[in-house]
């Protein structure tokens, strides 16, 4: 693949009651354009990653809406795949460039979640599940709780193991000025936080977040190639959990990662950084195992030993941004933010959370309870 990442931008993630979606989009995209050193007329494709604008904001057709807001007069449309909408938007842009029809694309991931009461957002998010899951009164924390309990039962994973993921990602968040949560937490605090869906506590769960992230990608041969996308794959599994062959893995993650590693010509051990989909603490353990970084049941002890923590890791550092847990999870923006974080690490722009060696990175974005998985491999050149 010959796709270069020219520029990145993102807003602060958090509870942004005073800021409209239009303003969020402008901030993220203008930052990305100035970073890329290009202007609006250089963009010939806008892909928007978003899940909830229709369900919560009563607004669809936001490809055209944001093209208007951003002063773009190019092809523009939305891609939706629940919490993987952002990753799918990046994938769609890459496919558009590879087709040869477009030369330079802007990918905007955006979500506005905190304007509404939590029960309503929770119900809206369940649009990503099956009708049966909705009729059972299930929630996304509930679906991941079923995965957590299955993992605990199969491998002896404990609540402390789950909590250690949140502790690590809050530590990383404390180093990221754009993260929703920049406070460090302890395992005890996680265990004592209120139960949402047993065994998942409040601090095992990613928050509801407002935010936007943008990347500019190009296929132009003359473009600077300091950071490139080496692989982009999507895989799917059954929409709901009840028809899965296994509840201790997300096979969509495994399939997408296998293809992405193969295309990029690398192995999991070659990765220096990874942004993985930790919508709940159990999800990061599943990701570390499904992506091939650890054998099944072995990720929890590695996380607890600090093997993937900034500063104590000997090699791979996971979720330097703070992940979905601490950086926040504006669902349509998350998959784009992951690419922003990888590219910024590779260009040495991450301040206190900058890792020493960031040459190869992987972004892993999941929709629903594993029905969709998107994996990108990003590489620093020279």
């Amino acid at each position: 693949m010959k796709i270069s990442i020219l520029g990145t931008g993102m807003t602060k993630f958090g509870e942004l009651w005073g800021i409209s979606p239009r303003t969020l989009a402008r901030e993220a995209v203008n930052d990305a354009l100035s970073d890329a050193g290009i202007v609006q007329k250089d963009i010939d494709l806008l892909i928007v990653g978003n899940m909830l604008s229709a369900l919560l904001g009563n607004q669809q057709h936001i490809g055209a809406l944001f093209a208007e807001e951003l002063g773009l007069s190019c092809a523009a449309f939305t891609v939706e795949g629940a919490c993987a909408s952002g990753g799918l938007a990046v994938h769609t842009a890459v496919m558009g460039l590879l087709s040869g029809q477009y030369k330079t694309a802007c990918v905007l991931g955006i979500e506005k979640m905190t304007d509404h009461k939590p029960e309503l957002v929770s119900s809206a998010l369940m649009a990503a599940g099956t009708n049966e899951e909705r009729l059972s009164g299930g929630t996304f924390p509930g679906m991941y709780a079923l995965l957590a309990r299955s993992h605990m039962s199969a491998f002896g994973t404990t609540s402390e193991d789950l909590a250690s993921v949140a502790v690590k990602n809050h530590y990383h968040g404390s180093l990221n000025p754009k993260a929703q949560y920049q406070n460090q937490i302890t395992i005890e605090q996680v265990l004592k936080s209120g139960c949402i869906a047993d065994p998942l506590k409040l601090l095992d769960c990613s928050p509801m977040t407002d935010g936007a992230a943008a990347v500019i990608v190009t296929s132009k041969k003359t473009a600077k190639k300091s950071v490139t996308i080496e692989a982009s794959f999507v895989a799917t599994d059954s929409l709901g959990l009840s028809t899965r062959a296994s509840l201790t893995e997300l096979s969509s993650s495994r399939k997408a990662a296998y293809k992405a590693f193969h295309q990029a010509g690398i192995k999991p051990k070659d990765c220096d950084i990874a942004e993985v989909h930790d919508c709940f603490t159990i999800a990061e353990l599943l990701a570390l195992e499904d992506l091939g970084f650890y054998q099944k049941g072995k990720a929890s002890s590695a996380v607890r030993a600090g093997e993937v923590t900034h500063g104590s890791s000997k090699h791979l550092v996971v979720n330097t941004s703070g992940g979905l847990k601490a950086c926040g999870h504006p669902v349509g923006a998350t998959g784009v933010k992951q690419i922003v974080e990888l590219a910024d690490q590779m260009r040495g722009r991450c301040g206190k959370r900058q890792v020493h060696k960031a040459d190869i990175g992987i972004a892993h974005n999941v929709g629903g309870s594993g029905a969709t998985a998107v994996v990108h491999v990003v590489k620093r050149n020279g």
């Binding site: 029960e119 924390p141 509930g142 079923l146």
Partner: protein
């Protein structure tokens, strides 16, 4: 909003599952419910592997939290699903009760 047409269309599926029996595979307790379920929370939701082979997800009722265990036998029954909406349609669907109940 649950369309009455969708509820009507789902009746066949509900009828085909009524009375089916199986074993609890895994469960959770939903303590922060979605819209429409506030009057029922906290409540358990679990995956039940039916004797006929397929696995279904359902809310578990008439069972106390302490009695939940892998392998516990359940039977599917018809129950009210959520608080009725303003349009007045009461949504009925499948929930699971312990087989001994």
């Amino acid at each position: 909003m649950l369309s009455p047409v969708k509820i009507w269309r789902n009746q066949k599926k509900i009828a085909s599952l009524l009375g089916a029996q199986g074993e609890l595979v895994v469960w959770t307790i939903i303590r922060v419910p979605p819209d429409g379920f506030s009057d029922q929370a906290p409540y358990p939701v679990g995956l039940i592997k039916l004797d006929e082979g397929k696995t279904v997800i359902a809310q578990l009722v008439d069972v106390s939290e302490g009695d939940l265990a892998k392998g516990l036998r359940f039977r599917l029954v018809v129950r009210r699903i959520t608080e009725p909406s303003t349009e007045g349609v009461i949504p009925y669907g499948i929930k699971a009760v312990p087989q001994t109940y």
